[in-house]
Each structure stands twice: as C-alpha cells, then as structure tokens.
Amino acid sequence: MSVDLTTYYLGMQLKNPLGVAACAPLTGNLEMLRRLEEAGASIAVLPSLFEEQIEHEEAEFNRLFEYQTESFAEAITHFPVLQDYNTGPRDYLSHIEAAKQAVSIPIVGSLNGSSPGGWIRYAKMIEEAGADALELNIYFVPTDADMTAIDVERRYIDLVASVKQSVDLPLAVKIGPNFTCLPNFAQHLVAAGADGLVLFNRYVEADIDLDTLTMKPDLVLSNRHEARVPIRWIAILRDQLQASLAATSGVHRMQGAIKLLLAGADVTMMASILLMEGPERIRTMLQEMTAWLEENEYDSIEQLKGSMSRGNCPDPGTLERANYMKALTTYTVETSGPQST
C-alpha cells in the first residue's frame, strides 16, 4: 500500500506537501507553472502584487507624460496618446485567471500592499480574479527609533483584520522571523483572521557596490541550512496555533521537507532549488519522500505532520537557546581541532 501524501492547507486539500513559493520566474510564467504541476507540485503561490510598485509605475508614467506638456506651443505633448497604457494590476489579475485556466492545482495570490486602502482594494481584486487563497506578503522595515515593537505588530494585526473582513478567501500571512515574541504575535495574527502563516519571508537585502559606493538590492538564493529557522519556529508554534503552517526558506532536499513536516508544517514551499535545478526536482523529491515514508513505515503525511512539534518531540529543550550554544561549541571544536574529519 502506497503512502498517502495528502495534506491540508488553509482548508484546501493538497495532493502532497510540496508546493511552489512566490517566485516570478517560476509561478509568474504559465509554461513553467504547467511544468511544475506536471512534476507534482501541489500548490503554487503567484509572485506578489506590489502595491507600491504599481502605484510608483503609475505615478512615474503619469509624471513622464505630463513632464513638459502644455509648456511650449510647438510641443503640447511628447508622446502619442495610446488607447491603453496597461498600468495598474491588470497584468497580475490576468495572470491569476490564466494560471487558473492553465493548471488544476490551487493558485494562491500574493499581495504586498503599502497603504491600508491598497491592501483591501487589491485583495478584493485578487479574489475576484479567481485565486483559491490569498497570501499577504507583509514587509515592513521600521527605521524610526520612536516606533515600538507594539506599534509594528499592531500594523500587521490591523492589516490582517481589515483584509479578512473584506474578502472571503482563505488568508495566509507571510512574515519574517524577526519578532520579539513570535508565538504571541502569531497568536494575534490568527486571532485577527489569519488562516495560516507562511514561515518565513526571505527579504531582498541591500548590498553595497564597492565600485560606485551605492546600495544595491540583491536577492541571494537560499541554501538548505536555512530550513532550520522555520523548523524551530514551526515546532514551537504548531501546538499553540489553530492555523495552517507553511514552511519556506531552505526547502531543497527531501530530508529538509520531511523535517519541516515533522516539526509541524502543513506544506513546504520551494523556490531557490527549483530555480537552480528545474521543476523536475519536485518529482525526485516526491519519489524520495515516498520511499522514505515507506521505509520508515509511515502511512500518511497526516500521520507524520507535527509528530516532532515542540510538544511531541522527546527533547523540547533542544529547540531553545541552550542547545544553540552547545551546537556552536561543538561546531567550533569540530572544525578547528586538528582531529576533525
């Protein structure tokens, strides 16, 4: 009897726990989306619709059109009047519709808003376009020393509540790991209406160009060791939250996915490894996952999920700081000692 890979995420039944995270070259491309489904992906999160980017583009477009218009008698304008400038979220919304037509796996819309009205407005548009769920990609970098942690968390919680009130879609919230008390914050997000959490966001961090002495945004692909952060927090959160948990960051190998599921993830989302190795990586991982589950005599993913959550694992203390210190010590000794292998 084969192992049942079915899992449940945001109230949706997924055929397996391997999904594709928001990533433009992957889920932003219909052909690639088809290949991903064919390779076995169970769910796809579309790239984020960035309100700020849309509005910036609209504003820039408008500014360029208006620049020097009606200023000089011989050149009232400088560009032809076009029937449609195709600004705004239309491309994105069309992509949702096309994705729904192209594949049968659940399609999750992803939204990064920049204004309270914007989150709600675009969330409704994504719902109307036919997405199966909505992932809120919340990215706020506090730079003001007068702003408190409570202020920051309040922004997230209010935002989730307002979107939840406006749409009927299952709602996932993708956050970063850097909160003072993540379990408490996560609890508030769920209370505000989040049906699931996506752990964690990997931000585009600025780098410095030494030639030009300028800041340059640069996205570095993940490595498999990064899965350890979500392993810890999913394990900690699993028993305390009545919400779906998706793991992202560092899901590269079957082993990593299994670990995240053991910790309590409902689904694992991949991107970097698919960029590096292509969609077929999913097929391989599914085969390996099935083999591992069979070898270890699991009946189903549901059986496995959360079986090593903080409450279910034999040594919960290892999820805490002391263990971290020990690992560091061990690592240092092992790598610096002359006998290391």
Partner: protein
C-alpha cells in the same frame, strides 16, 4: 438636427472630418498643423474607421515635399487622400500642388495658416503661406472659427469630388487651430450623406490601372501646352456654384448655413470691412455694436477665396455700400496692394460697382498672430469716414517710420457683462493649461453654456510661463482675441508677482485668486506695491490658497492644476459648487483614467482638499508695500537691451513701434544673461575640499550655469565672504587658483552636474564635491559670488590644455543660459563647441530645438567674450541647413582668396614679411591663432594709413585671414530626414565644414514625432506601436565616402572622446560629421540622470562610439577607431529604463518582445560590422593630403 456638442480645437475639428473621409493621409509634422496628423495617426492606430469602413493609412514622410509627392501618387492610384501642413511646409508642396491641380485631382489640404519665415521665423498665424499658393490652381476655402474648421472641411471634401478641383481649406494657425471651443459635431451619418459615392467611383475610374492604361504627366511642346491649360477652365467656372450647392446641402443637413461671401451688419451699410480668417469674429462684434448704435457699417466674410467669384462677391454687398476697407493678414512688399484687396478692387471694376462704391482701401493686420480686436475693426470702419481714408494702412501696431498705422481706441470693447472671462497665469510644469482646457470641456460639454479657451506660451522650454484665456457665455463665442478685461484672474505661481503685471487684465471688482505660501492674514505684506494698489483701486475680491501645500499633501508634487481649478469653480460661480466638483472629477477620470487608479485617487484627493485651504483676504484701505516689481533687465544693460529686449521681457513687445525694430532681422547676441529667470528651487553648491577638478560638472551643464575658472593667485583682491577657491593642481598653471561657481539665477536646477560628479566625501558618501541645496538659502551669497567670479579675468586661452576635458572647461562658454529644457542633452555639445571655437565660429542652425533655444526672441544664449568676439549665428530653414552652412564656407573661402589677392597686391605697403606671415603661418592651435590675430591687427593699422583703394577693400575683410570655423548644427529630423539630401551633398562637396548633429532620435521641437533616427521599438508619434524599422546608420553612410571625418560621440559616456572628436573634426580640413547622442524629454527618462544614463546607452552597444579620420587612411593604416568597448549589457536592460521603450513593453508585450529581439540583433550585427571596420586598412583618396603635407 439636434447636434452633439463637443469641445475641441480647430485642428481636431478639421482632422475629424479628414480622417473620416479619406483613405490615405501622408503628412510631415509642422507647427501648428502637427496635431491634425498626430490625431489621425492615433485614430488609425486605434482602429478608428472612415465612413467607407476602412482604417485610413497614415504615413509620416521625410518632408512636406515628400508628403505632397506621396499624396499625389495615392491620388493617381485612386485613393481618397489628404494631408495637413502650414507655412514652409506648404511652400514645399507647391510643385506637386501645381501637378495635382493640373491633373484635376480631387483632394483637400488642410492648412493651419502660419507665417512664412522672412526676416525671422514665426510659428504663429497669418495668411502669408496660403497666399503663396493662391496661384496654383486650387480652390481655397477659409474657415473663421473652430466650428467652421469642421464644417468647411466637410464642404471642401464634398465639393472637391464634384468639382475635380483640389481644395486648400485653411484656418488661422493657433488662433483657430489651437483654440478650444464648443462646437456642434458632425455625425458620421451627416458626413456620409455629404459624400457622393458616384463621385468616388468616378475618381477611382480615373486612377492609373494597368487594365485600362493611360499616360499622365506628359511633356508637352509649344503646340498644345497652352490649349491644354485652357481646357480646364470649365471646371473652375463651375466651381463656385458647386460650392454654393454643397453649402446648401450642408445647411439642410445641419442647419448651419454658409455662403461664398457672407454679409453681417446693417442692411443699409455704407462702410464695410472685407476680410477672412479668425479676425472675422472680432470684426463682426465691432460691426454689431456699431450697427446697434445706428452706424451704417457691415462686414463681408470671404469663404471661397479661390476661385474668387466676383459676381457672388458683389451680390453679397448691400447696394448701399459706398466705402470698403479690405483687410489682409499678409504682406506683399512691392505689390500694388495685398492680394484680397486687389481681388476686391478687380471684382468691383469687373462687376461695374466702382461708381457706387468709389473708395476701397486696403490694410494689413494680424501678422504672426498679432492681436486683432473689435477696437481695431471699429477704427478701420471709422477710417472709412475720413475725407481721404488712409490707403495701405496697418492696424494693430504703431508705425512711426512710414506712418501707415491707424491708432485705435483701446477703450472700445464689445465684451458683455454676462460672459465669464478668466485669465490664468501658470507655469508649463504646474498643469495650468491642462486644467484650463478641462474647465472649458466641463462647461462646454455639461452645460448649455458655450466655452472657449486660448492659451499663450512663452518661448522657453524650461520654466515657461503660460497664460490661459477662458470665456464662458450663454451664447456662441466669437471673441477671437485675448482677454483684456477679466472678471477672474488667477496667479498660480506667487513669484510671478515680482515680474509680471498679472492684474493688468483685471477689470473692476474682479476676483483675484493667488496661489500663496502665505495665509490670508500675512499675504498682504508680501505683495509688491503695484499689486496692492491694483487690488485696492480695482476693488478686487482677493483669495489665497496654498496649492503647493495641498499638492504636496496629496502626493501631487508640483502639479497644482486640479487644486487651482477647484478653487476657480468655487469662486467663479459658473456652476453650483457640488456639481462643479463632480464634473472636475469626471474630467479627471477621462483625462487620467488610463494612467492608473492611483493617479486618479491622488487627483481626487487634491480636489477634495483644495477648498479647505481657500481663504478670502481682507483687503486694507491703503497699499503698504515698499517692494516694487523687479525691473526686467539690469540698469547697466546695453542701450538695445534696455530699449527693446526689456520691453519683450516685460511682456510689452506689442507696444514697440516700427522704428524700434531692426529692419533686416539682425539682432545683437549676448543677451540671455540679462534675463534672470531664477527658476530653480535647488542649485548646486561647490565643496572645494572634495573636488578633484575633473571639470565634468561644467562640461555637462546644459545652461552654462556652472563655470570653472583658473586664475593667478595674485590677481584676486577683495574676495567676497564665502567665495571659494582651491589651488589648481595642474602643472601647466602654477600658482593658480580655481573656482567652480554656480550662476544662481540662471540655473534650472536640473541636477545633472551633481549626478555626474565622481568625487564623494570619505565621511558621508552622499555628499559630493557639488550638491543640490535649496536656492533661497544660498541665493544672496551666490549672486555676489557669481558677480565676483565674472569679474575675475578669463584665463588666457593659450594657457589652457584645451584638448583635455578639464582644460576645455576653463574656457569661457559663448553659449549660456538658454531656454532649453532642464537637463537638455543637446546644449552641452553646443557649449563645448562655443568654448573651443566660438570666438571664430559661424553657425548655420537648422530649424528645431536648437534654433528655438538658440534664436527665439527675446534673448539668445550665443554670447561674446571680452573682446566682443563670439559665434555669429543664423537660421535659414529646416530643410536647407547643410547647403546654407556650405554657402557660408564658400563665401569665406572666396573672401579669403580675395583678401590674399589684395594682400599680395598691397605687399609694398604692408611689407613682404607681414604678407608672408599672414599667408603662410599655421593656425593650428590657440597660440598660433593669437599670433595671426595680432598680425591682422597690425595689418589693419597699416591699411588705415594707406591711400590705395585696395587697402579699404582689404580692411573690410582682413579678419577672414584668421581661420573661420564653420559649424552646421541641427537635429536628427533635419540630418536624417528633411535635410538629408543637402547634408549628403555638403559631405561630398569636400569643403571645410563641421556638421554637428544633435541626435535625440526624435523630432523634439515639434513634440516627439518619429524620425529615421528613431530606434527600433521606440514609441513615438507616428510610431505609436513601436517603430518597426531600425535607426539609419548615418555615420557609416558618411564613412563610406572615405574623405569625411566622422565621429559618433556621447559626452556622458566618454567625455574625453567627445573633446577629442571636436578637436579632430575642426582640425580636419574637409567635411566633418559629428553625431552627438542627446537625451531628450521625449525619451521618457529622468533628465537628471541623463548623462550617466549615456554610459548604459554605450555599454549596451545601442550607441557605439567611434571616430573615422581620413587623415589616417593611408596604406597600412586603420582610419576607423572603435572607441567603446564590446557591449556588456543587453539592449532590453537599457531600454526598459526609458519610457519610450518601456511603454511598448507594457502596452504590447508580444510586439515589444519581437522588436526588442530585433533591436538586439541590430546591435549585435552593427557591432560585428564595426569591429570588422576597425580592422580595415584603407587608403582614401582625398583632396586634403596635399594641404596636410
């Protein structure tokens, strides 16, 4: 016959008919007709169909001559074809117009009538262009208003098919072409009903068809040509009746009746005016007022000007008419009278009416859109009462030379009390004109009221001032003149109060709305005295709003248009406030809807927030200010500047009498410096501690508003506090200081200098050696510093290392403070040229941006050095600039030869040594030039003493013995398109001319139409779907000749190569061609980073840098130098940073993908070709080898 009312301008009114009734439209852009072609192109690109169910094929040609040829061909092959043009464009069509008429071919050319260039170019309106084709055998119909521009366009298209005689349908440039007015729109059904299918079939049957072959365009001999010419007579004889019947048909359909000649006024009129064009509106108002007062006056409006139906004309005259004044909007020097006058006299004679109407006078009015008002018309009618009415008078000016002008009473007015008259003063950049147009649309299209808008722009491309004249009336508006009695005046920029008398147009008890950073309680103390006095004396209702604050708070930037518009509607009361706001939002939705929801939201927010900041000001009883409006020019300006330029700058040029103006269009240079516009909000401030003295900031400054100067340490005395300097590092100038100084009132604040500055602080990287800072914080000090900077003597040109970037930038620019756009990519090249060669340069400048910022009154940036030397500049035409410049060289060479001849003849007087030195000394560098100048000075002294006639002759031309540098300058529209034939010829003529092409890849001056320099995939007018074809490789075409020096440069990418190319081109004793990459606002880029963006332009291979020097074309030499590196960026990566490409990627991703790939192939192929070229050994035979040797 209930009509649909729309609010459009005259161009759109005419074009809408033309587009619906034609199949082929071949055009070439020219002001003020360009919008007709552009609209047609937009409609066709949107798939809008004509009444036959097809989409008209709109093609942009390389010149108006080309457009006329294409029209001729399309007509001969049986398509319904039209074109739009004006002015010089119409002149270029004349040869084909004779052909089209001679072949009895039905077509209509729509003309936005514009002044022909004579002593000066003018883009404005008069009839000199259409009068130049009256002899070509075309019917001519004159429209006098926006409504008529549509209606007579229709009548022309219908009548030409019946008559087989082609029509010129014309209306006044700007006054009608650009006036926005409410008109009854023709429906497609009405248009369809006017066009007779049988006549179209007849046109098709006459077409060239190999199934029924014909021969047309034969060459004829004396035996038959004459008779054949007369054979067409019946068609002209029949035409007036055909037009009459067509007008009657039109009247039945629409209720709007026209006749060949329409009379208005007292039925028993004794004195009448005859005229055509937009001035009719003003004249009709005057006639109506005078007739109502019992005066026996009238007006005949001429509609069908050719053929001139003398019988119909006389029938239009009431039998009572005794005296006629004929007004012509053109001038024919030397003629008996202007054309309409002559036609009227002839008509009266031929029809036997001279006995009853013995007095006919002719007069000129309105040249180049000179105002023509009811007061002037009244004065003309009054003149007819004189015993001896003045013949060949002028009206609208003061002629104190030949005393032809009539003096009119400016108090005579026909403005009515129930008409809202509003005048809005704004900046081009603040959106005032757009908002005014929208206001006209709101009233025109949503209320029973009529609305009219007319917009006046100054000639600057940066910081331009606009004045919008808007009328709302319960009746149709025929006031075809500016408002001088406004019931509402709005000043959208507070600083205008310092320089413009904005309240001069305000009538008593008018409303004055001011955008003010000062609130209602404090604004009074910030007003100049003249403004305070007028507010009190005229009992104005005074309101303020801080629109900039509202704009900032609603993310509108500096666009205050919707805010001021909302305040206007709130105060003017033409609509209930709530309804007005609703309509403003609806208009915003229509105007901005396509640009995105966020744009709409911001505008809506601005509207909603506007009224909260609108406050009435309690006006005190007395004026308290001691501040007066700034004088237009400094007191120490030249006499000419004080008498003439100052008046122009002050907006009072209309008041200058004839005697004040040069008789031949010759103006002094060196005048831009008197015009302190002070338009920047931020200016660059130098930090000498960080500066590495590279000179880049000075090099790239488009307005020469940053200067560098090196000067001996010892020469500085009395330095103002805060004046900065640092030791000059170069060894060539020991003990010198250097200073980089901003001209704070001349800077436009574009920030290009800061963007290119490579020197950054080690402590705070964002701080550079030059930084943009708020102007007001530095203005007083920097003004003082700049004055001091100017007083420091210029560096001796022979001391500077002018072949380097930094050395060249120590030279005085002789091109400064132009009105070019902030961040202009063209002007830095001109400035560099002026630094290197300006003191001995003759410039032939093609019409275009560079001729406008270079030579549009009131001032010119071309300037002089302390010796009074500087570039001498002339613009001939658009199409002939290369030939014109070649002519300059031919003349110089001839003068030089004559001077040498005279010099040899005068050797006994001058001395053999001086003759030998003058004739034989090299002039290759600044030192040698200086020595030659000294020799010429010595020569002149000797000549002054010499009694021989030859001495006097030589003295006049002796300066030509110093090498002259001839520069032929223009844009890509000239070089690649309309002037290419001439440019090609100048390249092959072998003469020493330097051709500088300021290549923006688009027609910049006329608003972004595609040229053959426009790159593939770029969106431009006439390439709305992205240009399909690649850019012409003009450089390689020139290289092919072998003996032409060619350089392709991009200053922002490689400034050293740029300087080198200029040096090599000028030193090459034959034709040189420099193609200079110039960023432009029509690229849709951030102009601040335009120069650094050039690096990517070159890195992508989009604009490879090269030099081809024939002097190196000898055996075993490689004359072609590829100066840029192999492309390291993909085209797409570069292109998406420019809206002209990005727009296509957004609107049509599939086509963008295809064109981007092709564009990449263009680059790859060209690079491969250039690499091969760089390895080619060449030996070019050229005529300069001997000279070099």
């Amino acid at each position: 016959m209930s009509a649909n009312f729309v609010t459009v301008d005259g161009n759109e009114a005419a074009a809408s008919v033309a587009h619906q009734t034609n199949e082929v439209i071949a055009i070439y852009p020219i002001t003020p007709a360009s919008p007709m072609g552009e609209l047609s192109d937009v409609w066709s690109s949107q798939g809008r169909r004509n009444i036959f169910g097809t989409v008209p094929d709109v093609i942009e040609m390389q010149s108006e001559g080309g457009a006329a040829g294409a029209v001729h061909g399309a007509l001969q092959a049986g398509a319904l074809t039209t074109t739009f043009t004006a002015s010089q464009g119409l002149l270029l069509m004349i040869p084909n117009m004779y052909k089209i008429a001679g072949e009895l071919t039905p077509t209509v050319f729509h003309i936005a009538a514009r002044t022909l260039a004579t002593h000066a170019l003018s883009i404005f309106g008069d009839h000199s262009d259409v009068m130049s084709v009256r002899q070509a055998g075309w019917a001519m119909l004159a429209s006098n208003s926006v409504q008529e521009a549509q209606d007579l366009a229709m009548i022309s298209h219908a009548a030409t098919l019946r008559a087989r005689v082609p029509f010129v349908h014309f209306f006044d440039g700007f006054r009608t072409s650009h006036e926005v007015s409410k008109i009854a729109q023709l429906s497609s059904e009405e248009i369809r009903a006017m066009i007779d299918d049988d006549l179209i079939q007849a046109h098709r049957r006459r077409a060239m068809d190999p199934d029924e072959p014909v021969l047309r365009g034969t060459a004829q001999n004396p035996d038959v040509f004459f008779q054949a010419r007369e054979a067409a007579n019946p068609f002209y004889d029949a035409l007036p009746q055909i037009v009459t019947e067509t007008m009657e048909q039109f009247a039945e359909l629409t209720g709007r009746a026209y006749r060949l000649f329409d009379f208005a006024g007292a039925p028993d009129a004794e004195r009448i005016i005859v005229m055509m064009g937009s001035g009719v509106g003003a004249a009709e108002q005057a006639v109506a007022k005078l007739a109502a007062a019992g005066e026996k006056v009238g007006l005949v409006k001429v509609r069908l000007y050719r053929p001139f139906d003398t019988a119909a004309f006389c029938q239009a005259l009431p039998p009572s008419v005794q005296r006629i004044a004929v007004l012509d909007r053109t001038k024919e020097p030397g003629a008996v009278g202007e054309p309409l006058y002559q036609d009227v006299v002839t008509a009266l004679v031929e029809q036997g009416r001279m006995a009853s109407c013995p007095v006919v006078i002719g007069g000129r009015y309105g040249l180049s859109s000179k105002e023509f008002t009811p007061a002037m018309a009244a004065r003309v009618l009054d003149e007819l009462q004189a015993d001896q009415p003045k013949q060949h008078f002028t009206i609208g000016i003061t002629d104190d030379v030949t005393h032809l002008s009539l003096k009119w009473d400016p108090e005579f007015s026909t403005e009515e009390a129930d008409v809202t008259r509003a005048v809005f003063y704004g900046l081009g950049s603040d959106g005032t004109v757009g908002a005014s147009k929208n206001s006209v649309k709101i009233i025109g299209e949503n209320t029973p009221m009529h609305a009219q808008g007319y917009f006046v722009y100054d000639s600057k491309k940066s910081g331009s001032v606009t004045v919008s004249h808007v009328r709302f009336s319960p009746r149709p508006i025929d006031s075809t003149y500016l408002i001088d009695r406004a019931s509402f005046v709005a000043c959208h920029q507070f600083h205008f109060l310092e320089r413009i008398d904005v309240l001069a147009v305000a009538e008593a008890e008018a409303t004055f709305l001011l955008n003010s950073p000062y609130g209602p309680d404090e604004v009074w103390d910030h007003l100049p005295r003249e403004i305070q006095e007028q507010i009190i004396d005229k009992r104005l209702k005074f309101y303020v709003v801080d629109a900039l604050k509202v704009a900032r708070e609603t993310d509108m930037g500096v666009r205050i248009n919707t805010i001021m518009q909302t305040c206007f509607f709130a105060l003017a009361g033409v609509l209930p406030r709530e309804q007005a706001i609703e309509q403003i939002k609806e208009t915003i939705r229509k105007t901005y809807g396509k640009r995105g929801e966020s744009v709409l939201r911001r505008n809506f927010a601005a509207v909603d927030a506007a009224l909260a900041d609108l406050h009435e000001v309690t006006v005190p009883d007395t004026a308290t200010s001691t501040e007066e409006r700034l004088p237009p020019v400094a007191p120490d300006s030249s006499d000419f500047v004080k008498r003439i330029t100052a008046m122009l700058l002050d907006g009072r040029g209309d008041l200058l009498p004839v005697s004040a103006l040069p008789v031949d269009g010759t103006f002094p240079t060196n005048t831009a410096k008197v015009e302190k516009r002070s338009i920047a909000h931020e200016i660059p401030i130098w930090d000498p501690d960080i500066c590495i003295e590279c000179g880049l900031c000075v090099l790239v400054c488009p307005h020469a508003a940053i200067r560098s100067k090196a000067y001996p340490h010892a020469s500085v005395n009395g330095v103002p506090e805060g004046f900065q300097s640092k030791p000059w590092k170069g060894k060539e100038l020991p003990d010198h200081l250097m200073t980089i100084q901003v001209a704070p009132d001349d800077c436009t604040g574009c920030g290009v200098c800061v963007d290119v500055c490579p020197a950054k602080s080690k402590e705070a990287v964002k701080h550079k050696a030059i930084n943009m800072e708020p102007k007001l914080e530095h203005l007083d000090r920097e003004r003082e510093n700049f004055d001091h900077f100017l007083e420091i003597p210029e560096l001796d040109r022979t001391q500077a290392k002018i072949d380097s970037v930094k050395g060249s930038q120590l030279l005085l620019p002789l091109f400064e403070f132009s009105g070019a756009c902030a961040g202009c990519g063209e002007t830095p090249y001109l400035k560099l040229m002026s630094q290197l060669y300006g003191d001995r340069a003759l410039i032939a400048n093609a019409t275009g941006c560079s001729s406008i910022y270079g030579g549009n009154l009131p001032t010119t940036p071309w300037s002089t050095n302390a010796d009074g030397r500087g570039p001498t500049w002339a613009n001939s035409l658009f199409e002939d600039n290369a030939e014109f410049g070649l002519g300059l060289r031919l003349a110089i060479d001839q003068k030089r030869e004559y001077a040498e001849h005279l010099l040899r003849e005068l050797a006994p007087v001058v001395g053999d040594d001086l003759v030998r030195d003058l004739l034989g000394s090299p002039q290759g560098d600044e030192e040698e030039i200086r020595k030659q100048r000294e020799r010429v000075a010595a020569l002149k002294q000797l000549l002054a003493q010499a009694p021989q006639p030859a001495a006097g002759k030589l003295a006049v031309i002796a300066d030509v013995l110093v090498n002259r540098s001839v520069w032929i300058v223009g844009g890509d529209g000239w070089a690649y398109d309309i002037g290419f034939g001439g440019l090609d010829h100048a390249l092959t003529a072998g003469r020493d001319v330097n051709i500088l092409v300021l290549d923006t890849g688009v027609y910049s001056n006329t608003g972004g139409q595609a040229s053959k320099a426009t790159p593939r995939a770029a969106v431009a007018k006439f390439a709305a779907n992205g240009k399909s074809a690649g850019k012409k490789d003009l450089g390689m075409l020139a290289v092919a000749y072998g003996n032409v020096y060619v350089a392709q440069i991009a200053m922002g990418s490689n400034p050293a190569q740029t300087v080198r190319a200029f040096r090599e081109a000028e030193s090459y004793p034959g034709p040189s061609l420099i193609l200079a990459y110039s960023q432009c606002i029509a690229h849709g880029i951030n102009m601040t980073t335009g120069m650094t963006h050039q690096k990517e332009i070159v890195q992508s291979g989009f604009w490879p840098l090269f030099r081809y020097d024939p002097r190196e074309a000898h055996v075993g030499e490689h004359p072609f130098h590829l100066d840029s590196r192999k492309p390291t960026k993909r085209f797409k990566e570069m292109a998406l940073q420019e809206a002209r490409f990005a727009m296509l990627a957004r609107t049509d991703p599939e086509r963008a993908k295809e064109l981007f790939e092709l564009a990449q192939q263009d680059i790859d192929n060209r690079w491969h070709y250039y690499e091969q070229m760089a390895g080619v050994e060449r030996e070019a035979t050229h005529e300069f080898q001997e000279e070099e040797a």
